[in-house]
Every structure is written in structure tokens, then in C-alpha cells.
Assembly symmetry: D2
Homo-oligomer: 420 residues x 4
């Protein structure tokens, strides 16, 4: 009888290479899996290394399109944001990665999946909740939560020794004093020297975006067109005096937005956030294109979305979608429900936003819609009477005041006059 197979999320780094060797040592056949969600990485080299280290195979799956279309774009539609600041860059990639890994595991007949996430972070939760929903019978091997593993490999030196012993090639590059996670939407930095929330991130840490101080001295203007809340066209100029370009393909559009934001230093944040498991954690994030597309979307909603629909959506969808995604519960009844609600809220979000990026900041310089007519300049105008009786407002105010007059009188009678 053959060995049992495990599908390991492999990165090519020291940790997952040691896990690979350890799984083999435990008697498993290992299928490695790498997700291409747009991160800068030498997939071929990693693939080669995996096989060299004993993996039966190593899959590299290109998930960029599904990542943008199924995750990033709905996040834009609902203005997703966690704790007022974080644009969910890491969380957004997890569902497509988990799904692709399960597909490989199923194709290869693996009884278990494995990953190299630590035992204190959000990502283990996000991956595993995805795994269990996607294939409830799957087993998960999480070495960094297995005492046998984490007691044996208590420090980096133990891993290096094991690598040497196991014939794992180790690159001599000195590791950075923080950990990173990159994808098409963002790059995160945490741990190491960043653990002190009062330590300013060193300038050379930021990878995706230029330092705002070194960004061009001239603002860069561009235009985003939305249909049903989704970006469908990006019009921009490649550099000063450059050619006019138009991106309409989702991935191209997203990449072009990234380029604009990256060269103008847009999208850096630095926060202390609350992890799902109840610990606080300091994270620095770069989310170049998504920051701008989301802000442009919010702006357009001002023009075309009904006030009450917006208020309901803000209070209900934005926060819940963000919390659920952050907590890794993407494959769930509640996310399926919310996704229907997002779509229902975006029917009229059609229009064009004119944008500007400059030295770290993003501003909107104009917007219009050919199809949505909720805004009517003449009607809002202070100078015209139009189809609106000013005296109507008197009645509006009087009726609103009924309740407030009672309040004022009650306060007075209680000797707590509001006029102090």
C-alpha cells in the first residue's frame, strides 16, 4: 500500500522546506503547492527546490485573475475596510489560495493539507476555515502548532541544522528584520523590529511604493469608470507627457492602478490592529491600487447612490463583510448572504471619477454619470427656487421639532435647561 499524500503550501523558504522534509520523514508523500497571487517570486526556482527536497510534484497555480475578480473587486464594491484603516490585503488572497490548494489536494488524492503558518496569527485561521468549508473531511497538518515540531525546531538555528542534514539548499541572504506577505493587492510587514508599535518603519522596508518624498513633483491624473460598482475602465497617461492608455481587462486595470499608486507613493498605512484570536498586532501595509480604486468608488457613490441605501449598506455590509473576511470566514453562509446584498446595493453605481495621485495622497477632482440622475445641480442650487416650495421645509422642520420641543420642555421642567 502506498504512502498517504499531503498537499503542502510551499514557499521555497527555509520554514516550508523544513516542513517538507519533516513530512517526508513522517512517512508522507508530499505534493507541493504554490499560489501565484501576484507576489514577486521566482516560482521556477522554488518549484525546482521543492522537487529537489523530495516533493513528488510542485504545482504553481496562477490565481491572479480570480483574486482580482472574486475578492478585490467585491471589496471595492462594498468599500471594505477593517478597523477604519486596514484594506484587508492579506485576507483577500487567502480564499483563492485555500481553494486552489484544496483542488490540488483533491486532484492528487491527498488526505491532508499542510501549511507553515505560525500559531498566533490570523492566516492559519483563514486557511483552515477555508479548507474545512471547501472539503469538510480534509485533515490539516499545522506543524507550528504541533508540539513535536515546534519543540524540535525552537529557533532558526534548529531549522538551519535540519536543512543542512536534510540536504535543503539554504540561500545565504540575510533575512529582513520583519516578515512580509505580498500579493497583487498589497504587501504587509510585521513582526521583528516592528513589534514595538512606537518604532517608525525604516524607509527601505517599503517595497511596493516609492517614498512620497521621492515621488514626482507633478500630480498624476487619471480616470476610473465604474459599472455596477465595479471598475471597468482606467484611463491614464504613462508618465509625464507620456502616451494615453486605457485598461479595461480586470487584471490589467488593477495592475495599471497599482503602477500609478506605486510611483506616487499612495497606499501606505501603519496600524495596531486586533487579530481574530484576540491579540493586538502591529502591521504596516502597502495597498497601492486598491486604496485609490476604493476611494474613487466611495466618491462615485456620493453622486449616484441613494442616501438611505448608502446608509444601510454602510452600517450593514461594509463592516460585516470586512470583519468576516478578516476573520477568514469567506466560505460561509453569511458571506454568501452578504455577497447577494452587495450586488443588490450596486445597481446604480455607474459613472466616472477623475482622480489625482500626488506624493502619497489621492484626491478626486471631479465625477459624473451619464446614466444616474439623483444629483441635479439646479435643484440643489441655493440660487434657484425651481420645483420646490421653500415653505415645505418649514413644515419639515416643524414636524421634526415636535419631539425636540417636548425634550426641551421636559429638561426645563426638570431644572436642567439646555440653555446654560
Amino acid at each position: 500500500m502506498g504512502k498517504e499524500k499531503v498537499c503542502l503550501a510551499y514557499s521555497g523558504g527555509l520554514d516550508t522546506s523544513c516542513i517538507l522534509a519533516w513530512l517526508i520523514e513522517k512517512g508522507y508523500d508530499v505534493i507541493c503547492f504554490m499560489a501565484d497571487v501576484g507576489q514577486e517570486e521566482d516560482f521556477e526556482a522554488a518549484k525546482e527546490k521543492a522537487v529537489k527536497c523530495g516533493a513528488l510534484k510542485c504545482y504553481v497555480e496562477d490565481l491572479k485573475r480570480e483574486f482580482v475578480e472574486e475578492l478585490c473587486f467585491p471589496a471595492i464594491q462594498c468599500n471594505g475596510i477593517y478597523e477604519n484603516v486596514y484594506l484587508l490585503g492579506t485576507s483577500l488572497a487567502r480564499p483563492v489560495i485555500a481553494r486552489a490548494q484544496i483542488k490540488v489536494a483533491q486532484k492528487e488524492g491527498c488526505f491532508a493539507v499542510s501549511h507553515g503558518c505560525t500559531g498566533k496569527g490570523n492566516d492559519q485561521v483563514r486557511f483552515e476555515l477555508g479548507f474545512y468549508a471547501l472539503q469538510p473531511s480534509i485533515k490539516v497538518i499545522a506543524p507550528w502548532r504541533d508540539p513535536e515540531f515546534y519543540n524540535r525546531f525552537a529557533g532558526r538555528n534548529d531549522l538551519l541544522d535540519y536543512a543542512a542534514k536534510s540536504g535543503i539548499p539554504v540561500t545565504s541572504t540575510k533575512s529582513k528584520p520583519w516578515s512580509m506577505d505580498e500579493n497583487l493587492a498589497h504587501c504587509s510587514y510585521e513582526a521583528g523590529i516592528l513589534e514595538d508599535p512606537n518604532t517608525t518603519p525604516p524607509e527601505d522596508m517599503w517595497k511596493l511604493t516609492v517614498d512620497p518624498m521621492k515621488a514626482p513633483d507633478q500630480p498624476e491624473d487619471f480616470t476610473v469608470t465604474f459599472e455596477k460598482g465595479l471598475p471597468v475602465k482606467l484611463e491614464y497617461t504613462e508618465g509625464a507627457g507620456g502616451a494615453k492608455k486605457t485598461a479595461t481587462d480586470t487584471v490589467e486595470l488593477f495592475l495599471a492602478a497599482n503602477q500609478i499608486a506605486r510611483r506616487n507613493g499612495v497606499g501606505r498605512i501603519d496600524i495596531v490592529e486586533n487579530r481574530f484570536i484576540g491579540l493586538k498586532s502591529r502591521g504596516c501595509y502597502e495597498t497601492p491600487g486598491l486604496t485609490m480604486l476604493r476611494s474613487a468608488h466611495i466618491d462615485l457613490e456620493g453622486l449616484v447612490l441613494d442616501r438611505e441605501v448608502r446608509a444601510l449598506r454602510d452600517s450593514f455590509i461594509t463592516t460585516n463583510y470586512s470583519r468576516i473576511l478578516y476573520n477568514g470566514v469567506f466560505f460561509s453562509p453569511e458571506m454568501e448572504f452578504l455577497t447577494s446584498c452587495i450586488t443588490a446595493s450596486q445597481t446604480n453605481v455607474n459613472g466616472v471619477v477623475r482622480c489625482r495621485a500626488y506624493k502619497g495622497s489621492f484626491v478626486v477632482v471631479g465625477r459624473y454619470s451619464e446614466t444616474e440622475k439623483l444629483y441635479d445641480a439646479s435643484e440643489s442650487s441655493m440660487d434657484e427656487i425651481g420645483d420646490f416650495a421653500p415653505s415645505d421645509t418649514t413644515g419639515f422642520i416643524s414636524v421634526q421639532a415636535i419631539r425636540l420641543k417636548k425634550y426641551g420642555r421636559a429638561k426645563e421642567e426638570a431644572g436642567q435647561s439646555l440653555v446654560k
Copy 2:
């Protein structure tokens, strides 16, 4: 028997001067009232003009301190924001103005108050709901909603003719092609050429903040200390190589924050918003200091506020406080209730935020708290096991997964596998 007295909110401009004359023509004695909420204005000249135009008296009330302490600071405590973007600058000033006007009206024995707000805007609602709560028996004379008035003065020329006839001095200054409202916290621009939401505001429109492109080439760093969510100390340097300064008085602190933001171009926004009366309206706003203090407050909450308290506060207080304030319902049972809740949420918001302003953007470069210990670097560290069993997380995930496995199985059985 003497004439009935009216207390008129007076600005010194053409509109309210004509209203003053018209009220006198209608047979009232008029007491003028001006609120000093920090706007740039020649109060003495306006006062003189009021009396010259026939007012019995003209009060100028300095409301800066109560404006900052009773309105701006609670708005910072609850991260107040309307429709994701607007920091409520105009709305914040209305309650203190309404209250001071009622006090003058009461002191002078006025049966009515009057104002020059148009019939389509938010401000008429905000003032009048305030008036009615503060003194339920008060009468309100709103000429721009009175057909007798607005039919007679259909355009600016009618007002100019009336001014000439009534001996109202008219300054020859050409009026700007938009209307403005200024106070210590912000300046707003709307109407006129801004009514087309696709018209980019001209650079010379912005009054409070420097154009980010003309802001200093070096970032400016400063430090804000919060106690119970309130800014209590601002440490900064007056210009490059300048002297170190510290502001602790609320008004001084607020003004200093304004200065830093203004010289670095921080706090401009341009939106289409939904007015209380159901119209959409385009507004441009500068909110220099408040923008930075609010962002610093949000940042500190990441470090010191419990996750669940924060989530409850975000979903409950921030949006409701902002909506209620925007709609002018400040003097109300619901605001009294919310205010208690704000205070209850801020007990632990104590700490220091290190901030940076640069060419239109504001970033946090570090934060710490001497007293609050929710964040624990070693505990969050990915590198240490500490007082935390990694295997605990396995149980945490397994329990969360119970519900999701059921979902996955049900989907599978329904032939809608999540793994597509």
C-alpha cells in the same frame, strides 16, 4: 406698547443686512447677533454696520472655547465622519451658535429669532431644531422661506436696490463664485461654479490650507497626547529648525494643530453628499487640524481600545453621532444618550501618537501608552511561544469550523460544491 423684538443672526453681508432692514420695515425691533466661532471676520465693522442699519444692538459672542470643547473634541473622541468622508465641520458649529443666539434672545426679551439661511440647505434645519429644543416657545422668522420675502428679492439686484434704498452700505468687493462658511474647525465651499460635481475647484478657492504642491518639501513631525480620548497635549516645532512648543490649553492646542495642517496642505476634501432634506449637494471642505487629531485618535484606539468595545463603538456611536449631528439634532434625547456612551467608551484611550504631515497627507509614525497594556509585543510575537499554547488555536479553529463544515457539506449535497 413697544415693538416686538427679534434676534437676528447677522453676518454683515448683503443678505442679512437686507433682512435686518426688512424686519425693521415689518415693524420689529431688531437685536443683531454674531457668533465668533473662529472665522476670519471684521466683527467690529459688522457690528457698526448693524447699528448703522438700524439694529438696536449687536452682540458678538466668542464661542471658540465651547465650540472646541463641547463639539470638536467629542467628535474626535467618537471619530465622527459623515458618509465616509465629511468631518462635519459646519454641523459642529451650529449647536453653539444656536444656543448663544437663544441666550441673547432671552436676555433681550425677543419673541422670535431670525436667520438668513436658504430654504434648501442643512443649516436652516440645524439652527431651527436647535432653537426649538432650546426654547420650545420661540418663533422663527426665516425670510428665505417666506414668499413675501423671497418673491420680492428674487435676485441679487433686488437686494442691491433695496440696500441702496435702505441706506445699507455695500462693499464693492466682487463676490466669489461660490459660498463659504468658516469656523475654527473648517471652511466649506459650495454652490456657484461648484454645483457641477465634475468641475475641479480652482486652486485659489481653498482658503485655509496651502496647496500641497506648495507645501514644504520636508515633512513636519509632531506628537499628540490623549487622555480619555481627548487631545491634551500637542508637541511640535515651529517651522524647520524652530523652537519646540507645547500646547495644552484646548483652544491653543486646536489652533496649533490647525497651523501645522494648514502649512502642510492637510485636510481638503471634495464630495457629493446627501443633505438631510433629501437633495444631493456638492461640497468642498478644508478641515485642517481636526483631520489630523481624528486620525491620531483612531490610531491610538488601535493600541489601547479593546477589540469588541471598538467594534461596538464603530457600529453604533460613530455613524449615529455623525448622522444626528449632520441632521442638526444635537439638542435631543438621542444625542444626550449617545454622549454618555461616548464617554463610557473612552476610559482607556490614553497614550501618545507620533504624527507626520507632508504635502497634503498625514501619517502616524509611532504610538505608545504608559498606562494601557492591551498590546504586548512579546505575546503577539511570532517568534515566542510565551504564555500561550499553539495547540489552543487548533481547538479554536475546530470549533469555528463546526458550522462551516456543515455549510460545505450542504453545498456539496446540493451539487453546488464550493470548490469550483
Copy 3:
């Protein structure tokens, strides 16, 4: 040129008959409109009276089916309730009435619609907001808000005099000391002697339901089947020892539920509620069938709806749907949005609820679902270990406790130990 036409919502009573005469006196041609939403009424007699009083025509539109299917059933799906108690019986009927009246007005080429609602109630708001959304150009004639009308008809005697003068037949029936509104879903009682909230409603007031004290001494059992949250089958016994019956047609099912509830005294409430216009109002309501169908629906959701979907739905849809409907904003972007969300939430609400009515109370005595399997008796069982490691819960608790231990420690350090 012919006269302008007005479509009047006509009831056959003194008020609307006088309004009819008054509109004719004002020079209009009047088309009367009556909505049959299931109230007990002699439509033929009223129709005759309308024509006798001078109406050009009188339409009687049967709206029962659309009332049940488009309003009552979605209200059941989302457990609609206003201020914890009121099942929205009156509000539910208003949208279909407003729509049918506009259709008649359009068919007859009326420039305006008219109604006999008072100026302090909710119904004027509900009808007119409906009218304006359905036909934005429509004019509304609301005599009870028109000083010309209400000053002329200051009391009932004025109306009686006018009726005599105008040849309006007046029935001698003494009017009840309260006003009523009836439809298929409910009957409301308010005003008159009920205005004192401490006055217990007289037993002979209640029209639809039997006094619980006079209801049968034996409970009545029945069964409701739901599909996607909608009642699709009602199985019951006609009286003690009676024949077994099954209703599947929506209107028949609703009527049968009414009959069961009515004979068992189920569905009476008595509350003080907050009207949209800011006044408090005391209302007594009978909502027989809807009370039971809604409760049965809630019960089934316990069995088949995912916890998180339910929590989101409860906090978002139920309250907002109820508030919007109560306030008469049914034809609106927000209700269109919410309606999509209701549907999305009910996909799995399939199953059967066994119910019991007895002397004013309704209880569930069992429920099951053939298709939904979220509930698993063996899994929940305290006696079996099953596919569930008890130790997992230890981890679940430990992770939840991280945050709480910090809280406990901080309290202790602050000298505010939680153990007092």
C-alpha cells in the same frame, strides 16, 4: 374644456362623502376609489352612495391577493415587527392601496388624488409617499390639512350639516368611541376613549378575535409548511373532531390561519407607539393569522437558518424593513434593496412547524425539515462524543480568554478587581 379630474379614496362614510361633495363644489370631476383589502364592508352600497353623491364613477379594486403575496408574506419572511410589538397591520396594506389608486387615477386621467386622512397620523404620510414615488407628477389634495376645509368643518356637526345640505345620506348608526382600520391581516383601534393609555379597551371593541376567556377549552393544533421562508401549506382541523383540511393557495392559507387565530383569541396587542411624525400614539391591534405565521416562521429559522445569517438578518433587515414600512417608504430604493436581501436570506428556510393555539396564546410543539440538515441531534447530544474532540473546546475557550485575561489583569492593577 372639461373639468379637471380627481381620484378620491372613498370609504362611504361621512368624512369622505363630504370630501366628495366638497371636491365637486370646488369644480372637480371626482372618480371614487375603494380598495378591497379584506375588510368587512358593503362595497356595493358604498359604490352606489358615491355615485349618488355625484362621483363620476366608483372603482372597487380587489387587492387581497397582492396584499397577501407582496406585503404580508415578505413581512413574515423577515419577521417584521415595529418597536418590539406591533406587526404593522395597517402599514402593510397602504402600498397596495396607493398603487391601485394611482392606477385608477392614471386610467381616468386624473391630475390629482385625494384622501380623507387626518393631519396627525401616519397614513397620510404612507399614502402620499407612495403616490409621489409611483407617479412623481401627481398632485395630492388632502382636505384635512387644507385650512379652507378644516376650518369650515371644525366638528362633526359641521359635516352633518354639510351632508344634509349636499344630499348625502347619513346612516343613523352611532359611531364608536374609537376609530378603526381593518384589512385581511388586522384591525386597528385608536383615538377616542383609547387616547388615555391607561384605559383598558372594552371587551366589545375587539372585532376580529374572540375574547381568550371565551375561546375553546381545548387547544387547536395545526401545521405550517414553509418554502424559502414563505408559508406554502396549512394543515388544520375545522373545529373539534372536524374534517382535516389543507390550504395551499396563498389567500386561502392566510384566511385559514386567520380563522384559527380568531376563534382562539390569538393576536391582540395594546401599545403606545411612536408615529413617524414624532407624536406618541396609543393603538390596539388584532393581527390574528399573521401573529401565528410569523411566530412559526421564527421558530423554523431556529432549526434551519445559520446562526450568523440569522444574526445579520435580525440586526439589519428586520428592524429596517419594519421602520421603513411603518414610515410609509415602501416604494423606495432602500426597500427595493432590502427586498433583495430578504430573498437572499431565506434560501434555506424550508420545513414544517407544528403549532398550537389556545385561549389567546400560540405555541410551537415541534418542527422538522426534510431538506435542511444544520441541526444534528447526535452531534448536539451531551451524551455522545461523536466527530468532535471535547478538548477542542479547551482551545476555543483559551483563545477567547486571551482578551479577557488582559481585561481582568488591567482591572486588578487599577484596583478595581472584578471579584468583589
Copy 4:
């Protein structure tokens, strides 16, 4: 050196007696702890048994007053309810029990606390989250989650054998085919034959309340007075023609309310609910007095609470308080925050509610307040014009309609007329 001490929550039953013996066998000194939260129980006998079985001591703590005052009354103030139906009876008692047990543990110098909760229920979570917040350093011994224990005692016979061997007296009373939990506020029934959610609970299961069919044929009236949302006086008659009684002491008042509800069959429910750990569970509950006091409180709020305060409280406090309490997170920053908000919401909830209980149902027959004047009969009256211009409502409606007319027009232009 002495043995380590453990404080065991002891019930006198088979399970906890075996746990007691097992803890002793493991080498611990055991202090037993019993909480008197109003359940029917022979505390003296249990105490004796504990000592006989080897406990060093057995504490019986009377927690009835703190249970009523600190838990039940705030639950009434905020209308606490879980998933629309469950009044949280079990959850309410857990915090006072956990706190008293920790106090005993601290007094006795125990390093750990222990309990007999199963590994699938809510109570283990509620107790332990309480323990950890109350004393973060405490250890918890949960035998039913310890494989050593639960593998050894796989069935009831194993426990009986162990009892025989360990000299634990076993009463021969046949255990009921369900499990129960009783306290002053309620009694719960679950597990056993109740695990099939379609099994109707047998009539002899219900312990606290009389079968509604056997309840008196005459309704019983009584009166509840509230101050700041708290019940402060209960006026009732002891039986038909009995003496008038008044209860003002909190515990007496609560007990009297229980008696009235119990003899009239009020407060039974039967639901399938969602446990914190993600399983669904069927529970039957009797909550006699609390059901009535909560309903009376809701009724009074209709009369005296401002509409907007009520709406905010409903959407924010009621659901969150209930969820947090249900999930056992009572000792937490969020509950501390919510508790402040509850108090702030109840300032004006002062008044008297006249109530009626009859054969399983509770109704309000009148209410009034001497101090709160939000309700004004003449003002709400349809018959009086009063201090209210009916034409004001026209303006109110017109302004509300602005947005809806736009919606109607947009739908028409899109060929989706609302008039179908």
C-alpha cells in the same frame, strides 16, 4: 508540603460526586462549592454528601440577591432576548456563580477550579470565560474535556461502578430523560428525548409553571412600577378574593412575579437555538416572572421613552447585550461599556404598568406615568388641531418625497415603472 487545592462546583449528583472522588484520587484537596441561585435543592444533604465523599469543606453561597439585582434586573432594563425568543435564564446565573466560586477558591487558596460541564455546551464556556477574567492566573480542570476522564467514564454505568467503588452514595431515583437547570429566573430542559426537535415536551416535564389548560379560569391582574427601568413595586392580590399585597424588595418582588406567572402558566418556550460553539441545540425553558416583567418594561418604554433613543437602544444594546451574555462574556470590557449605556438609556423609564396573566398569556391593560410627559393625549388626538398646524405635515411629506420622486422617475425612465 500540602496537597494542591481545587475548588469544585458541586451539585450533589452522580457526575460531580465522581469528579470529586477522581480529583481526590489525582492527589488534590477538594473544596466543594454550591451556589444557591434559587433552585429547588437540598443544600444541606448535598453538603453532607460532599464531605462524606472526601471534600475538605463544602461552601453553599446564597447568590439570590446579586443574581436578581446584578443580572436579572439589567436584563429587564435592556429587554434582553436571544434569537427573538430565549430570555437567557441560564446565562444570567453563570456570572454570579463564577464569581462566587472564584471568591471561595481565593479564600481557600485553590490553584484551580473545576466543574462538571460537558464539552459541547455553552456553560463550560460561560463559567471559564468568567473564571479567566475574574482571576487570570486560575487553572481550570474540566474533566469532561479531559480524555483521561471521559475515556474512563464513557457511560453512566462506569460512573455507577466508580461511585460504588469510591463509597459515593447513589440515590435510586430514576433520572429524567432530559437534563435540567434551575434558578430563580427559570428552569431549562434539554438533551435526552428533547433532542428530537419534533418531539413535543411531555406535560409532566414542566416544573415551574402550571399547564395553561389547568390554570385558573379567571385572569389575574397586577401592577408593576418602574423607576429608571427597574421594577420597584409589584402590587397584586394573593389568589381570587385574596389580600392585596405589595412587594418592593427586589428579591421579594421577583419571587412574587414568579408566583403569579407560575400559577397562570406564563413563560414557557420551546426553541432550537444556536450555541456559541456553533452547534444547534433544542431547549425548552420556563421563565415565569422575568417574561412578565420584561414585557411590562417594554410596554412602559412605549409611553415614556423617546422614539430615537428607543430605536438606538433596540438596535445596539438589546441584541449585543443578549449575545454577549449568552456567549458567557459577562466579565468583559464590552459588557462594562454596554452596562453604562443601559443606564444612560433608562433615565426616563418611570411609570406604572397594569398587567394581566391568564392561561399562559400575559397582556398589558393600561399604563401611566406621573413624571414623564412625552405622551400627550390631546396632541395625538385626531379630533383636535391644538398647537400643531396640519399644513406642516404637507411640508414634511414634500421634503421626504424629494428623494422618492427621483426614484420613481428613474424607474420610469428605465422602463421599470413602479405602477404595474
